[in-house]
């Protein structure tokens, strides 16, 4: 384990792809990173030297990905509704299987803590569970009234959380798919009557490693959604009773939206803000409403992932770069 020092955040590497980037994830080993881009491709990056391999298989953009527990496979979810399992440690990575899984966009894919299940959610408002080793669909159920934007397994391995456009965060018991409760993230929903626009949503969900807190990321104060005027917002909930315990806001980011959040440890959570105010890494703790630290990024970021043990943050950027930052001196 590295000694984390978020105040020393600095860019270690920046590697260029062929198209603006959309999403990224760091492998569990920290030896590889994957990104997706507007040309519908995936890029596998060797974290040691920045060499990349191109993966082609989707007919549309890919907003969401998840490595399996061993890090030798990757599952990607595309806007065409297709899930693709990739082998990613081979010299020539290949498709293991492709499944037409959803009607419309897939917005969230995540592998369970024990590595046996994967969840996928999207615009068809259905949650689907898959066996990671065979790709067999285990369960599916209609779960929300509006598009499902995000999904996350609780570290206890027994619960699943899903968040939608309206800011509803449903907690599901995996054993029988019953809904335990709904967390109220309505402040993440930004309808604008003048523009006849519905905007916002639970763009990302994360849970602290000890399982005690849930984080929901997105935007609020959407005074002009069409003009990208909206501010970042991170909600902190108590897992035990679902109560909202803090709304983390940020000053001076009039054009910000938190595309993703991730818990670095039980004390600190990070999120990446994109939007017209640029790319910014934000760090929060339980005691302060506003961020405890922010680090500007060289270009607008659209996604982020962390490798907490190595103190690494990957960010996917509009300027076609994948950037790897270190949270240490």
């Amino acid at each position: 384990m590295i000694d984390l020092d978020i105040t020393k955040s600095h860019v270690l590497h920046q590697w260029k792809a062929d198209s603006p980037l959309i999403a990224c994830r760091i492998s569990p080993t920290g030896q590889q990173c994957v990104s997706t881009s507007q040309d519908n491709h995936l890029q596998l990056w060797n974290m040691a030297n920045g060499e990349k391999l191109i993966l082609k298989g989707h007919d549309s953009w890919v907003h969401t990905l998840s490595y399996n527990k061993a890090g030798d496979q990757l599952i990607s979810g595309g806007c065409e509704g297709r899930l693709i399992w990739w082998s990613v440690l081979d010299a020539e990575p290949k498709i293991i299987r492709a499944v037409d899984a959803h009607q419309g966009w897939i917005r969230g894919v995540e592998v369970s803590p024990d590595g046996t299940l994967a969840v996928s959610v999207g615009n068809d408002r259905v949650i689907r569970l898959w066996k990671t080793d065979t790709g067999e669909k285990v369960h599916e159920w209609p779960a929300h009234e509006r598009h499902i934007y995000s999904a996350a397994f609780h570290p206890d391995g027994k619960h699943l959380l899903t968040g939608d456009l309206m800011g509803k965060i449903n907690v599901w018991k995996l054993e029988d798919r019953s809904m335990v409760r709904t967390l109220d993230g309505a402040t993440l929903y930004n309808p604008n009557k003048g523009q006849n626009a519905e905007f916002g949503g639970v763009r990302s969900l994360a849970i602290s490693p000890n399982g005690n807190e849930v984080f929901a990321a997105g935007t609020h104060k959407g005074s002009n959604p069409f003009g990208a005027v909206h501010e970042p917002l991170l909600l902190r909930f108590n897992w035990a009773d679902g109560a909202l315990v803090k709304s983390h806001v940020c000053d001076g980011i009039p054009g910000g939206l938190l595309y993703r959040t991730a818990a670095l440890n039980d004390a600190t959570v990070t999120a990446v803000s994109g939007g017209s105010s640029g790319g910014i890494l934000l760090f929060f703790n339980a005691t302060q409403e506003k961020e405890i630290h922010r680090a500007g990024l060289p270009s607008l970021a659209r996604d982020m992932d962390i490798h907490a043990a190595k103190g690494l943050v990957a960010t996917a950027h509009y300027d076609q770069h994948l950037r790897i930052s270190g949270l240490f001196a």
Binding site: G104, Q195, N196, A197, F199
Partner: protein, 433 residues
């Protein structure tokens, strides 16, 4: 500004009698009566005689600027294409965006104009151009297509206004859309699927008392008009009488009068119900209905917004087209889908598309427009028109021609000859049948 009616020399309302205009224009005889001189000889004749009730126009105004890439001219798997795929339609070889699956099944009724270049990226100016067929200038104001259609096509005997605009909430309606045609041809604005505001008689006023009030008003009006008649007083009088007729026909605006099956067919979305109102208005003789679908000005999060907006449009629009076709109304109804401009092929930093007028799309259906075709083409990334370029002026001419109006004709207003469409443009003949 008050314009006095000059009946002796042919004021606005008398310069061109619609029935006579259309009938004579259709044969080419007597055109000089309206145009005069050599100019009349160069004007084309309309193909066949029509009566003014025959044709209708419906415009879907996709307010804010619909993305052509997320609708009529998709460029999947290109730098500019975005996340959506193209899907086949009912016409082999023609593909549109996957956000329009129901509309794709009605493609055999539609004509896509993919080569629109209006070179104007300002909302207000772009809207003016698309609705008047002219560039905005400080020196002249031109009537919108709804006012022209009302003048040329509408029969006052219907008891309904000829020019109706449906907007979410019913805002607007105080503009000078009719310009030199006069206020009679300005629009009535409807909010959603509701009748015009204040169009029912208060219960406290008995019917006979109401009749006596109007009788008194008419007598006073006649006394006044005998000496002080002007275009404005005529418009004022017309508005009163039209309002009374409209009150009598208030049920036309009430979609609950439709059979439940029809209501179910159109669905419960606001746009769906507005389309059902539009169909009822057309059936009852309204010549022009404009439905505003808002909003498409998606500089930010373009794709999420288009999922919502185009998704709603697809269901309502496809249902409307199918319904008109099944009822045989499409033969005499021109449907146009337009915006003030399209959106940039380039995708900006926050998944948005900005204003783009150099290469975008307009759709027409029905009346004299060819069915199931595409006119015009853009390059692989949708950044330029490569074939069949047209502009707002050409589209305005085409709209009029498609409903049997000779767009090369002029109106005589205050002694001046005013072409009803820009003489520098011309109809897109290849899409007219």
């Amino acid at each position: 500004m008050t314009k006095l009616a000059r009946y002796a020399c042919g004021g606005v309302d008398h310069a061109v009698n619609r029935r006579k205009f259309l009938a004579t224009a259709s044969t080419g005889i007597g055109a000089a009566s309206f145009l005069g001189g050599v100019a009349s000889l160069s004007h084309r004749a309309v193909g066949s005689p029509i009566s003014k009730n025959d044709y209708r126009v419906v415009v879907f105004n996709m307010h804010g600027g619909l993305s052509q890439l997320e609708s009529w001219d998709p460029k999947p798997s290109t730098r500019t294409g975005g996340p959506f795929r193209a899907i086949p339609t009912s016409v082999p070889g023609i593909h549109i965006c996957e956000l329009l699956p129901k509309t794709a099944k009605q493609m055999h009724h539609l004509c896509l104009l993919r080569g629109v270049n209006t070179s104007e990226d300002d909302h207000g100016k772009g809207a003016y151009m698309m609705l008047t067929g002219r560039r905005q200038t400080p020196s002249a104001e031109y009537p919108q297509v709804g006012s022209v259609a009302a003048k040329m096509l509408h029969d006052d005997q219907t008891g309904l206004p000829g020019h109706i605009i449906v907007t979410p909430g019913g805002g607007g309606g105080r503009g000078n859309e009719a310009a030199y045609l006069g206020p009679k041809f300005n629009s009535i604005h409807l909010g959603g699927d509701k009748p015009p505001q204040n169009s029912s008689k208060p219960d406290a006023i008995a019917a006979d008392a109401e009749a006596r009030r109007h009788e008194l008003r008419r007598k006073i009006n006649e006394q006044y008009l005998s000496q002080r008649r002007s275009a404005v007083t005529d418009a004022y009088t017309h508005s009163y009488e039209q309002a009374l007729k409209l009150m009598e026909r208030r049920e036309v605006f009430d979609v609950s009068k439709e059979p439940q099956a029809a209501q179910d067919f159109y669905g419960q979305s606001e746009l769906g119900r507005q389309c059902l109102v539009a169909r009822r208005l057309l059936e009852n003789g309204v010549s022009f209905v404009q439905i505003t679908h808002s909003n498409y000005d998606t500089h930010n999060d373009n794709f999420n917004f288009h999922i919502e907006q185009v998704g709603e449009f697809d269901i309502a629009f496809a249902t409307f087209i199918e319904d008109l076709a099944q009822r045989g109304m499409l033969e005499k109804t021109l449907v146009v889908v337009l915006s003030e401009f399209g959106r940039t092929p380039n995708i900006n930093l926050y998944y948005g598309r900005d204003h783009w007028s150099k290469a975008w799309s307009v759709v027409m259906a029905g009346a004299k427009v060819a069915r199931g075709g595409v006119f015009g083409q853009t390059n692989a990334e949708g950044t330029e028109v490569t074939e069949g370029q047209v502009d707002h002026g050409d589209i305005f001419h085409t709209i009029l021609r498609a409903v049997g109006v000779d767009s090369s004709q002029s109106l005589i207003v205050d002694g001046r000859e005013l072409p009803i469409a820009d003489p520098a443009a011309e109809p897109i003949w290849k899409v007219l049948v």
